[in-house]
Symmetry: C2
Subunit: 251 residues, 2 copies
């Protein structure tokens, strides 16, 4: 994976859209991918419907390196992610004997001698070519750079962390500047610096509460020297009286 790895996330979540559950998986993946230096291009929350999952996947697959799905991998009628991924990739679904064995062991551990119900085997019907990576007892399902994660947040985090080394790139560098001025006073210098420094991302976030600053400006990018140069250019363009404090400024 290059320094510029990119990703998109598809949350399969009718329960998020109908506000029965507040999504934790999108924010977790955003944070961890950013820490790993992976640029997240989009998060799509879609209903538990095959067509909606396939559409979001086809939209993102052409432009990102890694696609993460979250949810829809259980045994019930509303678990549709595995066949949807197969359809989006144009491959058939095949029952994976290794995963059947893992599910049998898991089931025996929780239910003693009972044999695994047939319907639970749906969880082992995977897009052809799916690899079982990470934890051998609770593997992460990966096919053609599509990572199919479970929806339960603690399970998702476990399966993500066990394969996180696959996604790593060059980390981002960040400088944060806190200003006492409002956005309308900063807009022109920021726009000018953004134009001269296209390799860094300059964000501007106003606050309207009783914080010590009115605008937080972030300068971020993969090249530390360019980030520092962008931050310095902003500090040169704005009078010192406007600056409350700075974080991440180099020597």
């Amino acid at each position: 994976v290059s320094a510029g790895a990119t990703a998109a996330v598809v949350i399969v979540g009718s329960e998020v859209l109908s506000a029965k559950v507040q999504d934790e998986n999108g924010p977790f993946l955003a944070r961890r991918l950013h820490e790993l230096g992976v640029e997240l291009a989009a998060i799509h929350v879609v209903p538990d419907r095959t067509d909606a999952i396939v559409e979001a996947m086809l939209l993102e697959r052409r432009r990102v390196d890694w696609l993460f799905t979250a949810g829809g991998v259980g045994p019930t009628h509303d678990d549709l992610t595995l066949p949807a991924v197969a359809r989006a990739l144009g491959v058939p679904v095949r029952r994976n004997p290794d995963l059947v064995r893992i599910l049998e062991v898991m089931h025996a551990r929780h239910h003693g001698g009972d044999s695994l119900p047939d319907v639970a085997l749906r969880m082992a019907d995977l897009p052809e070519g799916t690899e079982l990576l990470g934890d051998p007892e609770f593997p992460t399902l990966v096919v053609s750079r599509v990572v199919m994660l479970p929806g339960v947040p603690s399970f998702l985090r476990h399966q993500f962390e066990r394969v996180a080394h696959l996604f790593g790139g060059t980390p981002f560098h960040l400088v944060t500047l806190f200003f006492a001025w409002g956005e309308d006073q900063l807009a022109i210098p920021l726009a000018r610096v953004a134009e001269i420094h296209p390799a860094v991302e300059i964000g501007s976030y106003p606050r309207f509460d009783r914080a010590d600053h009115r605008v937080r400006v972030t300068i971020e990018g993969k090249d530390a020297a360019l980030v520092q140069a962008g931050a310095r250019a902003i500090l040169e363009a704005v009078p010192a009286v406007a600056l409350v404090r700075a974080e991440g400024i180099g020597p």
Copy 2:
């Protein structure tokens, strides 16, 4: 607006994708739209880029009644929502004199005699046909059923609530069943009931913590009688010993 009003949300949020900010606006809009009886079809979190905003809008506009954007309506270089909406709708951008006056009043209130900086006028460059609705001092911008909300959560909530009556439909009815059984034991009865009761949405949410139940099943729809019938069908298909409790069951 019919009983079956639908919506989609586009969060314009590079800061959400890079985990600098945790999005509150998607969950708020999901909750309020659901309370109002509006079916939310998707939430897209996209970067602060014109092409990304336009693409998400074009994807959703063909299938939903209302499209909400959140963020990107300020005065800085990364505020691109208003021209992106104009482009997606195929209309020009025009400076709105009523909004210019409102911005001038707001500015005078905060900065005394200072005149409004030119760059702040970008906030009044609206897609042609945009109406200023709701609070006359802090209006909600609506054009062709696209509602352009600000990204600051307290402002977004204010502007949403002042026009919320526009979106109302028939409310949803919900029954929730809590089961001591696992999903693999419930999967077959749930699938059978889901097939016989296509007008209700049946969701299944496993838990793996120390809660008193292992699976929460939701039955939801616009027609209360159909929701009750769907819930009763599940209770008939599952032995009573599996049920922990029920919420929303009618007489």
